[in-house]
């Protein structure tokens, strides 16, 4: 070997050794400080969460929090199956909670450590806790419609003569079938179990008038705000983030469909105790309220409502005057039926 090359080799080797040593040192140091890995949905929502919930907890407890995104049901299952769980707290969709609990993917929650006295009963579950309420509603562009003149029910959303315009609906089974049945006048408190045959007949009527079948949660809000759609099913908090910036978008609460996102601790988490402590903190009145102010999904803690200003409360699905006009999504029904019904929806869509 050429001597110069040999010198280069030894230099590289030396550097490599030093690097490995350093990493080992850093790792052992990190292992001593307690660390929590938490997962949420990213974007503006994650920033709000970090600021209002994570940072104060780090300071209070002297721990380090690593926040990742997005949650993945598949990853949770893979981690639990492989007995190598790297996530300590994950925000999951309601149907993931139900199905995951049946599969035994989550740690049972210790409600001695988590003070649930001020949570609504519906948010408290054996191995998951509802943490913020979302809602899927009718949203519209205010340049085309306005407060006094817009579809106020799914029946009116279906009425393309009275309310002409480019429409968007979610490419999913959830929400879509509920909306169709309500459009046909099915009573709001007796939707489940869903009459699928009837729902598809009603969907046939709106099909030719749907411009966009959206898939990503942010998509309808963005398209309404930028004038690509006039009318769409959309998530309230996403619409709010555009309305707040002055975009011409608004929502109708009537016949909205709401549900909880759940916090879960994947089974086998190495920081179970700290995770319980974190849940108790995250759902206590103050952080729960501050998070809702930044990203208006309904807080679960009853005492947090006092801390929220009225203009934000108007945008929360949990505020009574909004909530009483909506229906709760039956997560259990969807955990059992979603795969089968979604296949039918896809089949119906390509026809």
């Amino acid at each position: 070997m050429h001597p110069q090359i040999r010198r280069l080799y030894s230099a590289v080797l030396l550097l490599a050794f030093v690097a490995v040593g350093n990493v080992a040192l850093i790792r052992s140091a990190a292992a001593q400080q307690p660390q929590l890995t938490v997962v949420h949905w990213g974007g503006a929502l994650q920033d709000a969460w970090r600021e209002t919930v994570l940072k104060p907890f780090e300071q209070k407890e002297g721990v380090k929090i690593v926040d990742l995104s997005p949650p993945s049901f598949a990853k949770i299952k893979a981690m639990v199956d492989a007995k190598n769980v790297e996530w300590d707290v994950v925000d999951v969709l309601p149907q993931w909670y139900i199905e995951g609990e049946q599969l035994g993917l989550y740690e049972p929650l210790d409600y001695k450590q988590i003070d649930a006295t001020d949570y609504p009963r519906s948010a408290v579950a054996p191995s998951g806790v509802g943490n913020s309420m979302f809602a899927s509603v009718i949203a519209y562009n205010t340049k085309v419609f306005n407060k006094g003149n817009h579809p106020t029910s799914w029946a009116e959303f279906w009425d393309v003569k009275k309310f002409p315009g480019r429409r968007g609906l979610q490419r999913s089974a959830r929400y879509l079938l509920e909306a169709a049945l309500m459009a046909d006048g099915a009573p709001m408190d007796k939707l489940y179990p869903l009459d699928e045959g009837r729902a598809f007949q009603i969907l046939d009527r709106i099909k030719p008038y749907v411009t966009n079948w959206w898939t990503a949660g942010n998509q309808p809000a963005l398209m309404l705000a930028s004038g690509q759609l006039d009318l769409s099913m959309a998530f309230t908090a996403r619409v709010y983030s555009y309305a707040k910036e002055g975009a011409p978008v608004d929502i109708e609460w009537n016949q909205g469909i709401y549900g909880y996102e759940y916090y879960v601790i994947p089974k086998g988490s190495r920081n179970k105790e700290l995770a319980m402590k974190f849940l108790n903190w995250a759902l206590s009145a103050k952080p729960n309220a501050e998070y809702a102010i930044k990203f208006p999904q309904g807080p679960v803690n009853r005492r947090s409502t006092e801390l929220i200003p009225a203009d934000i409360a108007n945008w929360l699905p949990s505020t009574p005057k909004n909530n009483e006009r909506m229906i709760p999504m039956d997560a259990e029904y969807w955990a059992k039926n979603e795969a089968r019904v979604k296949e039918k929806v896809e089949e119906w869509l390509v026809k």
């Binding site: 598949a74 795969a339 296949e343």
Partner: protein, 298 residues
């Protein structure tokens, strides 16, 4: 190692070379051959083992079952999606070739100092994520957007819709995959000996005729590898069709993602993946013969 220049069957010549004249130069048999072992192990463990696991996942759930494949065959939506996936991939490959060929030609036959700017133009979008690009196209192609407005001012109501349909999907995907086609073509075009073209011209061939009889046949290996590359990559797209397509552009990768992420039905997702893989093997089968030649140096 340098290949004998005039050989048409370099594989054989190289083999003879190792055994005979070049033996001492290349080292004893075991040294040269065993150098391949780590790579072979890597390929086996990294590619074939997971593929085998995927196959077993689609057939055992947990005991042997053909349920996943039966569902795939009996529920028509999957056959439709498979056809859509193949159709989109074909059209995207054709679009990339049509647009990429002139660009690759320009890239290769441009003076050095201009080539750099051209390269930057091609590479800049290459570094942007597929999601950002899809959203950017949505802004450009929307109803009141710049593209539709100028189209409408020229064509009036005959202007075709460019978003939320097949057109949108094709525009988005061709845009994403074009650089791959251009580089595959350019790498071959760069090695075309210009003296052949000069010879053709000196014998009275016009530019079009020279291109057709000399340049095009010499660039065929690039066309082939570019098309295979783009086609195979196009088979895996799910974001662009979901964002820029209509309800009819549902592709197999979209369904695989949903089965893995939302329904935890990994067995069925594996069956969908295996089917897509098998179908793409069948579709690409006619190119295998050429592919082997493609590795041969000139």
């Amino acid at each position: 190692m340098s290949w004998p220049r005039k050989s048409r069957r370099p594989g054989r010549v190289a083999h003879r070379g190792v055994k005979g004249r070049n033996r001492r130069e290349a080292g004893p048999f075991w040294q040269t051959r065993f150098a391949v072992v780590p790579l072979l192990v890597f390929i086996l463990a990294g590619f074939y083992l997971p593929l085998f696991k995927l196959l077993s996942l689609s057939l055992f759930d947990p005991t042997f079952t053909t349920a996943h494949f039966r569902r795939l065959l009996t529920v028509p939506v999957y056959a439709i999606a498979l056809w859509t996936t193949l159709k989109i991939s074909f059209l995207v490959t054709a679009g990339c070739l049509l647009l990429g060929y002139p660009v690759a030609y320009l890239l290769v036959h441009t003076p050095q100092h201009l080539r750099q700017y051209l390269l930057v133009c091609i590479l800049l979008p290459f570094w942007t994520s597929v999601l950002v690009r899809a959203y950017a196209w949505m802004v450009l192609l929307q109803d009141g957007g710049p593209v539709m407005q100028s189209l409408r001012s020229v064509l009036g109501n005959a202007a075709p819709k460019l978003m939320f349909n097949l057109n949108g999907v094709l525009i988005g995907m061709v845009h994403y995959l074009l650089p791959f086609m251009i580089f595959a073509l350019a790498s071959v075009m760069r090695n075309i000996d210009v003296r052949y073209l000069q010879a053709a011209e000196s014998l009275g061939g016009g530019p079009l005729r020279t291109w057709w009889h000399i340049y095009l046949p010499l660039s065929v290996p690039g066309i082939r590898s570019g098309c295979i590359l783009v086609f195979v990559m196009a088979l895996g797209f799910f974001l662009t069709p979901a964002l820029l397509g209509s309800r009819q552009e549902s592709t197999i990768p979209m369904m695989i993602g949903e089965q893995i992420e939302d329904f935890l039905n990994w067995g069925f997702a594996a069956a969908l993946s295996i089917t897509l893989l098998a179908v793409s093997f069948i579709v690409l089968a006619p190119t295998y013969r050429f592919l082997r030649l493609g590795f041969a140096p000139k």
